[in-house]
């Protein structure tokens, strides 16, 4: 039986969230939507990836070519990216209203046909992903058991006004994007909420990474809410810049890896702090042991002065140049400084935490942390649990 709250939602609908508006250049608009997903089992997770692929194929109103041309005119590409807790849909337009119309069309009237489904499930298993994507995701979705109704059902469950968070960058009057979006969504009547089918079990994990380099992962526990600032600051001290602990200890002192990353990746219910250490060494277990010991010792030696130095790095990363920013919402690549990525971060952060991303407020939170808070968060990442080891294939 459908729970009462869910029933009400399905019948009455929920108004869309206000649009987050970011200042940007004139005459180009970056439109970034995040569609929140509930905890998905392995079948639905694979179906979400197939849905993303199908959404690229155009809608009942716009062909794929028309959407692509509109994006390119604004210097952007259509981005539809799977993540464990959301689907990113990003596009560009030189006309705000037209861009929002196009987004609305992608969300509400895609062409989910048998032919599009078959193209997607045929292509996706053979698609290559980057080393870092594999190292972060570590899963291999199974598209073989999917059927078209799985994708249709997922689309009907997800594509609803209350699930869509939107940020728009460009030059327009304050409130203009929200007004246009509200007008476009007023008549959005989502499909009836479908019956939820059982989808449990675990996704298939990768046994090896493509390429000659394996990865050692040191992983902390999932964090939420008040735990986030200490975790984020700890990850910055570990991974940002060449004064970061990973560069100093893992690269310079131990010499076992060229490039390391300290990242915060999404899970369906929170954020996961992780340290990724690629290494071509034959004995990755020994690399992991050495890294855990040396990084744990380094963290123990942190001082208030070290934290003050790290605040300088954090200011650079959060305010000016994002290289080294740990949050990786899509789990595939670092966020950049582009308007599209700034808008995406804004939309994602509100979806995940309920508040608007504010770099200065986060920096103020870092300043209020004690040395012990930050050390505890860092030790919880680098020295808490058993490492995850994924060897390279060649």
């Amino acid at each position: 039986m459908m729970p009462a709250a869910l029933f009400l939602t399905a019948v009455l609908g929920v108004p869309p969230l206000p649009v987050i508006e970011l200042e940007g250049p004139a005459n180009v608009y970056s439109i970034q939507a995040v569609v929140k997903t509930p905890v998905l089992g392995p079948r639905d997770s694979a179906a979400l990836e197939v849905l993303g692929e199908i959404l690229r194929e155009g809608t009942k109103t716009f062909t794929a070519g028309e959407i692509r041309a509109s994006c390119l005119e604004a210097g952007e590409r259509l981005r539809i990216v799977w993540a464990p807790d959301h689907l990113r849909i990003g596009l560009g337009s030189t006309r705000l209203s037209d861009g929002l119309t196009m987004l609305m069309s992608i969300l509400s009237e895609p062409k989910i046909t048998q032919e599009a489904f078959e193209r997607a499930v045929t292509a996706l298993p053979y698609r290559s992903t980057s080393y870092w994507s594999q190292a972060v995701r570590q899963e291999r979705p199974d598209f073989g058991q999917l059927r078209l109704p799985d994708v249709l059902e997922l689309w009907a469950r997800l594509m609803r006004p209350e699930n869509v968070g939107l940020a728009v960058g460009g030059k327009f009057e304050p409130g203009e994007a929200s007004r246009i979006w509200a007008a476009k969504t007023v008549a959005w009547t989502p499909e009836r909420m479908p019956r939820l089918l059982s989808d449990s079990g675990a996704s298939r994990l990768l046994a090896k990474l493509d390429g000659p380099v394996g990865v050692v992962e040191l992983r902390g526990g999932e964090v939420n809410g008040a735990q986030v600032p200490a975790t984020l600051f700890a990850l910055l001290i570990l991974g940002a810049g060449k004064t970061g602990a990973l560069h100093q200890v893992v690269r310079n002192q131990l010499g076992v890896s060229y490039w390391q990353q300290a990242v915060l990746t999404p899970t369906p219910t929170g954020l996961l702090p992780r340290v990724l250490i690629p290494s071509k060494g034959a004995d990755l277990a020994a690399v992991a042991t050495a890294c855990q010991a040396a990084l744990g010792k380094d963290v123990d030696g942190w001082t208030d002065a070290r934290l003050r130095e790290a605040l300088g790095v954090a200011r650079r990363v959060l305010r000016y140049e994002s290289t080294g920013f740990p949050l990786m919402p899509s789990g595939t690549r670092e966020l950049g400084d582009s308007l599209a990525d700034r808008a995406y971060l804004a939309a994602y952060w509100r979806m995940k935490t309920g508040i608007i991303w504010d770099a200065d407020r986060m920096l103020a939170e870092f300043q209020n942390l004690s040395l012990e808070d930050v050390q505890r968060a860092a030790k919880g990442i680098v020295a808490a649990g058993p490492p995850v080891i994924l060897p390279g294939r060649r």
Partner: protein, 386 residues
């Protein structure tokens, strides 16, 4: 760190360029070039030291030594340049391309002199030791192993097109393993000969005062001559398979960066890359012969088919827009602008306005010629075999 001087994907901010109001280019008596450009609205300063590779172009016998040298000198005197910069919110990044080695600092305007002083240390580094070389070679081994598919496809394109004249600066492990302190010191002296050096500074700065500051730090070096660029003469179209890579690529030969044909070809490459979807396009500005490479690494094949079906009439407006967007992106912030100024100066005093003019005057016929450079029998076709 090593990467292309200009690696590009589709820009997301095509109209961010701020027309400069002033620029001052000064050649010091010792041959060092100082370029200072005022960017009135900039909140940061970009400072870039570019050493042209005139006289030290890679050969099979020296393959990777410049990259190794970059790793060894980037930490600065005492190995703590990053500790002097990063806590103040500044960063130093280093890059080695076929044509240049560059060190770039992005900092707050208050740290301009600190940035210039740190970059001076790259010209007068600490003595090199066998121990440091051995340690850095271990890291380079890891770096080379991490090379991803786009890099492997690009390396194959250069190898097919230019052979030993197109060696990838990432390097060969055997040559780097045999490096000696004496050999690298000699290489450094040639690479950082005063006439190979450009210091470029961009930000909300006073041109005269900043030039004087730069002159204080870079005017004291000996006046060392630098030879002419070695010309790449051997471009050969062809087809290459790369067992270790996934995806495919097409590469077109281009003349020097200032030649209009280069912008025509880059525009065509960018247009096809954008149409394909997740394709990449790379171009490293060069004094003479170079390559524009377009490829993709998500599907087994695709970019080569996209080129075969490309319609120049339809792609011309898109290509011009994207090339302009690419150029604007390089000029959009002080740090990348300083890097572009440095590179163009090192390649013979090219001005970026020349590139803008070449784009502005490009006709559909010119664009079609740029696209024709990618034709199967004129270009290099690379196919991944993994």
């Amino acid at each position: 760190m090593l990467s292309l001087v200009v690696g590009l994907v589709l820009s997301q901010q095509p109209f961010a360029n701020e027309t400069p109001s002033e620029r001052l280019r000064t050649v010091l008596p010792n041959g060092v070039t100082i370029v200072v450009e005022r960017m009135p609205k900039a909140g940061r300063v970009g400072v870039c030291l570019t050493a042209a590779a005139r006289g030290v172009e890679e050969t099979p016998a020296t393959h990777g030594l410049r990259h190794l040298l970059e790793h060894l000198i980037a930490p600065g005197k005492g190995g703590d340049v990053d500790r002097r910069l990063e806590p103040r919110g500044a960063t130093l990044t280093a890059q080695t391309s076929r044509e240049t080695m560059s060190f770039r600092v992005s900092a707050s305007p208050a740290d301009l002199e600190r940035a210039v002083a740190c970059l001076q240390e790259m010209v007068r580094p600490d003595a090199l030791t066998a121990e440091r070389i051995a340690k850095e070679n271990k890291i380079l081994e890891e770096e080379i192993a991490l090379a991803e598919d786009d890099r492997l496809l690009g390396m194959a394109a250069w190898d097919c097109g230019y052979g030993p004249e197109g060696l990838d600066p990432l390097g060969g492990l055997a040559v780097m393993a045999a490096a000696t302190p004496e050999g690298l010191t000699e290489l450094h002296a040639k690479h950082f000969a005063s006439r190979n050096l450009t210091l470029s500074i961009v930000g909300n700065v006073d041109l005269d005062a900043t030039t004087r500051l730069a002159s204080r730090y870079f005017g004291g070096f000996a006046n060392n001559p630098a030879p002419e660029w070695r010309t790449r003469t051997s471009f050969k179209p062809g087809r290459r398979e790369v067992d270790a890579a996934f995806g495919d690529a097409r590469a077109a030969a281009v003349p020097g960066v200032a030649n209009p044909r280069t912008m025509w070809t880059l525009s065509a490459g960018l247009a096809v890359a954008a149409l394909y979807g997740d394709a990449f396009a790379t171009y490293t500005p060069s004094a003479e012969s170079g390559l524009v490479i377009v490829g993709q690494t998500t599907d087994r094949a695709g970019v080569n088919l996209a080129f075969d079906e490309a319609d120049p009439g339809r792609l011309f407006p898109l290509g011009r827009r994207l090339a302009k967007a690419w150029l604007n992106r390089q000029l959009g912030d002080p740090s990348s602008r300083a890097a572009l100024l440095g590179t163009l100066s090192a390649l013979g005093g090219v001005r970026y306005e020349t590139l803008e003019e070449n784009l502005r005057t490009m006709t559909p016929t010119d664009f079609a010629k740029g696209l024709a450079a990618f034709a199967r029998d004129s270009a290099v076709v690379v196919v991944g075999g993994r």
